[in-house]
């Protein structure tokens, strides 16, 4: 079985927001909304805010989008089954035609990964660029990353690049203790 995952190298991420803007271009994300955000450790936009005291400082940035969880809380609460975990590749899919804008998924998602149309309330989120995957291309955030920080692939295949990276490097996942099984694996900075 294929289980698509993102592996994001926080050592390589410079917080330039190219992934966020590339995603907006590819997926026509409206102004002031995002499918992907780049945050600093204080969960704020990726500006210059090192932690520590001069001269012992640190800063890293963290791109975050839908974590395509194994046991996705948004899927569990969606009353219309507009959200589901796709069997063949593990992508959490959103069918906007079935979304009624109840925003229960917003409360359930630990990652603030969904945004909503201000008028209709219809949800939007990272699709893993499944339309690009279907053409054999990588997701747009990965394609445009100037530092090669974003990887994607089948985490169930031990030979895949993402699996090898996870095996070789120290990794963590956000909110791992929730049990949701998020599929963005961060390589530690």
């Amino acid at each position: 079985m294929t289980r698509m995952a993102f592996v994001i190298d926080l050592k390589r991420c410079i917080g330039c927001d190219t992934c966020a803007v590339g995603c907006k271009m590819e997926n026509d994300v409206p102004a002031s909304r995002h499918r992907l955000k780049v945050l600093d450790p204080l969960n704020e936009p990726a500006l210059e805010r090192p932690t520590g005291a001069y001269p012992e400082l640190k800063q890293h940035w963290l791109p975050t989008m839908c974590h395509h969880c194994d046991d996705a809380p948004c899927v569990a609460v969606c009353p219309t089954r507009a959200l589901w975990k796709r069997d063949e590749d593990g992508i959490v899919v959103l069918d906007k035609d079935r979304c009624i804008g109840c925003r229960r998924c917003e409360e359930a998602c630990p990652y603030d990964a969904l945004s909503f149309d201000a008028v209709t309330g219809i949800a939007d989120k990272c699709s893993f660029c499944d339309h690009r995957l279907a053409e054999g291309k990588e997701p747009m955030c990965q394609a445009v990353c100037p530092t090669r920080a974003i990887h994607s692939g089948d985490i169930d295949d031990p030979e895949s690049a993402v699996s090898r990276l996870v095996a070789e490097r120290d990794t963590y996942r956000l909110g791992e203790s929730s049990g949701a099984g998020p599929q963005i694996h961060y390589l530690k900075p």
């Binding site: 050592k11 410079i14 271009m25 590819e26 997926n27 210059e48 001069y54 339309h131 530092t147």
Partner: protein, 763 residues
């Protein structure tokens, strides 16, 4: 929904994909695949290169492609001023009307004051060859004045520091070779913010085991990624380097055989003049341990010490070697002295010296930041000296690296027949003194100015004074632009210029890589906009010089390639470029600048000792503090670096950029803020006796105490009042003028900051 989805069929279809080039002055010159549907850009993606690894684009290029082309402020038609300058009143005119009137007025100016009273100035807004050379070309064609942009760019001290020592103004290894370096010492360079695309090579190097050290007063994004961050006081990098040299000397870490063989260190110095002691035939003299002999006749000259030289009249001169003369200055830079000058721990200076001299290959990577001070040329001279003393110049994967790549060679070796058609030449005046020249109308009257590819309203110093003191002396001010910029606001005519994607055909050489790429038209021009070449061709025809501007775009590109001054470019043909989009410029690999150890200096060696500056007191390398920052009224240094979301002023008005960086923030250390009663996030005022501006404060531990940081690129209208470029000054520098021209010392600016009074701080 995926961009470009057909609402009926649900499918995405593009008409064509055009490989072209994004080319602002980030120097990345990224290859771009433009997806075009119904004459509009649907999206862009990174284009492939003949060699993998160079595929990249960034948020700036994406926002530029998607949001600048059809921006509401895009200029679509020629505009003529109605009412007073800067009044914001325009009328749409036809090209015929605009160009007819402009040509007539330029002719009238030429008739009255001479052809050189018409002037042109351009900057780095477009690396396209035709675009970037056309303003100079028209000035030459019409015998006008060219205001040079070298010093005005504010990074000329890199070249001024290099040229006398190395005989070349710039040099850099191939970035793709970065992973071969074991130790990478980065001085005042911040690719994570300024050249995102370079960072992947740095990360590759780190993964391959290289240690990376970043020297920068501010904790830049690159510093955040490095193994070590060293934070000297702004403008003191030369002192830090001299401290390293002193330690290397003390600990016998200097590569003496190299210095003897490849530098002018052994030359004897005449103590009376500070010049190199020469024989009757003009040959530099050295001491071979027993006698004074010509340098060319001595394989093993003495490096350290002095020679007693008897002259014909019986006087005996006590002549130090150049190395010894330099050393007597360098010895002052003990770690404890440097610690004081740079506000750094003395141990840091010692460790840096040992690490740099003890690791090989050691790649010294120099940025433009540390040279943005009045004496900034000494900084790059210091880097060259350090690298030479460690034996690193001309060595693979080491060297002293600034900027190199196809672009510099392509532009600097442009065919004379292209830049000066028909052998016609204009006159050059230093653009860095534009304000002074136009205000005083000296050395001769200049009555019209035409700028292109230049965000002058934001990027030039003291634009407020240009408007008040220089502009009234101009009978005509023409701005070729895409947007209503600060300069366009004050123009008499604004002529609409195409974007990268609308340009018909141009050659774009890599700013940081070794590929020549073809810009191909992706979409039709927006409105009535035209490209720079076409605009000036029209002018030339109206002014009786049409024969020199009759080539179409394709013929021009062929002409440039076929007549290029560098054989590596003559070897590239347009057909291959069309087929591949990008062609590798054939240079030996690995690319090792000065690998043949031939230096185009008078001695043919690296000239660490520079006798030509003896009168100016700079025959030996030294550190000189910035001019400003010591006046107790203005004790803080104001530094204005590029930031991760913009290259200069081209991107800051784009919505996707502003979503991520809504406003300029003044970064300052919490201690400096506390001393002045400034809280995080409040509006503050920054001032000196030349100007003031208002901005929101952002407290940041990553800023060295004693400095303020404001991101450059934001326009005047983005500040509630004033602009930081009003606070600077340009003093002539004799050494810089002797080499090329004075460099705009953008960061040699002392200021004070304070909270805004409550009534002023209201939104």
């Amino acid at each position: 929904m995926i961009r470009g989805t057909d609402p009926v069929t649900g499918t995405v279809a593009v008409d064509r994909i055009v490989r072209t080039v994004c080319s602002p002055n980030c120097s990345g010159t990224c290859g771009v695949n433009a997806f075009v549907k119904d004459g509009r850009l649907l999206k862009i993606e990174p284009a492939s290169f003949p060699e993998p690894g160079w595929e990249r684009i960034c948020l700036k290029g994406i926002a530029m492609a998607m949001q600048r082309i059809e921006h509401p402020d895009r200029i679509r038609y020629p505009l003529r001023r109605v009412g007073p300058r800067g009044g914001g009143q325009w009328e749409r005119v036809s090209w015929e009307e605009a160009m007819g009137d402009i040509a007539q007025r330029l002719q009238a100016t030429a008739d009255k004051y001479g052809a050189r009273a018409n002037s042109w100035m351009t900057m780095s807004g477009n690396y396209g060859f035709k675009a970037t050379t056309s303003p100079h070309r028209i000035a030459n064609t019409l015998g006008g004045t060219i205001f040079t942009h070298d010093g005005m760019m504010g990074d000329l001290n890199c070249a001024i520091g290099f040229l006398p020592a190395l005989g070349a103004g710039f040099a850099c290894n191939d970035l793709a070779d970065l992973p071969h370096a074991r130790y990478i010492l980065i001085f005042g360079r911040n690719p994570a913010d300024t050249d995102h695309s370079e960072m992947r090579f740095l990360f590759d190097a780190m993964e391959a085991g290289a240690k990376v050290v970043v020297v920068d007063p501010r904790f830049s994004r690159t510093a955040a990624k490095a193994d070590e961050w060293v934070s000297p006081r702004p403008g003191t990098d030369a002192a830090l380097v001299l401290g390293m040299i002193q330690v290397m000397d003390e600990e016998c870490l200097i590569d003496e055989p190299y210095v003897i063989r490849h530098t002018n260190g052994p030359f004897l110095i005449d103590p009376r003049s500070g010049k190199v002691l020469r024989g009757e035939d003009g040959e530099p003299q050295v001491w071979d341990g027993a006698a004074v002999v010509a340098a060319s006749a001595c394989a093993e000259p003495v490096l350290r010490g002095r020679a007693q030289v008897a002259l014909a009249d019986g006087t005996v001169l006590d002549c130090p070697t150049a190395f010894e003369a330099m050393r007597s200055e360098w010895r002052r830079y003990t770690p404890s002295h440097v610690a004081e000058v740079c506000a750094l721990p003395a141990e840091t200076v010692i460790r840096l010296a040992r690490d740099y001299a003890g690791n090989s290959p050691a790649w010294l990577w120099c940025g433009a930041g540390p040279q943005r001070y009045h004496h900034g040329h000494l900084v790059h001279r210091a880097y060259v000296t350090l690298a030479a003393l460690a034996g690193n110049i001309g060595k693979p994967y080491a060297g002293v690296n600034t900027l190199d790549g196809a672009h510099m060679r392509f532009v600097f070796n442009a065919p004379e027949a292209w830049t000066a058609p028909g052998g016609r030449h204009g006159e050059h005046l230093p653009g860095v003194h534009l304000l002074e020249i136009l205000s005083k109308q000296e050395p001769y009257p200049v009555k019209s100015l035409w700028i292109a590819s230049y965000g002058m309203g934001t990027q030039s110093p003291s634009f407020d004074r240009f408007v008040e003191e220089a502009l009234p002396n101009l009978d005509l001010f023409v701005v070729t632009e895409q947007m209503m910029t600060g300069a366009a606001d004050h123009a008499d005519y604004v002529l609409p210029c195409v974007s990268y994607y609308e340009e018909p055909l141009d050659l774009v050489a890599g700013g940081e890589h070794w590929f020549l790429q073809l810009r191909q038209q992706a979409i039709p021009p927006v409105g009535e906009s035209r490209n720079d070449y076409a605009i000036f061709a029209d002018l030339a025809h109206r002014m009786g010089q049409g024969e020199h501007w009759s080539m179409d775009d394709e013929a021009a590109c062929r002409f440039i390639l076929e007549n290029h001054g560098d054989p590596a470019f003559r070897a590239i043909d347009l057909e291959t470029l069309r087929r591949q989009g990008a062609v590798r410029v054939q240079i030996p690999r690995p690319h090792v600048p000065f690998g043949d150890m031939v230096f185009r200096t008078p001695s043919g060696k690296i000239e660490l000792y520079q006798e030509q500056f003896a009168e100016a007191g700079e025959a030996v390398l030294m550190h000189k503090d910035p001019l400003e920052g010591r006046d107790p009224r203005y004790p803080l240094m104001l530094v204005s670096p590029k930031h991760v979301h913009s290259t200069h002023s081209q991107h800051t008005m784009l919505p996707w950029i502003r979503e991520h960086r809504p406003e300029p923030l003044l970064e300052m250390h919490p201690r400096d803020a506390a001393d002045r009663g400034i809280a995080d996030g409040v509006m503050v005022e920054v001032w000196n006796d030349r100007g003031r501006f208002e901005v929101r404060a952002s407290l940041n531990e990553g800023v060295k105490p004693g400095m303020l940081v404001v991101p450059q690129g934001f326009w005047r209208k983005h500040f509630r009042r004033g602009h930081f470029a009003d606070l600077g000054r340009i003093e002539r520098n004799a050494v810089q003028e002797a080499v090329i021209e004075t460099n705009y010392p953008v960061w040699d600016v002392g200021v004070e900051v304070g909270p805004l009074a409550l009534e002023d701080a209201a939104p």
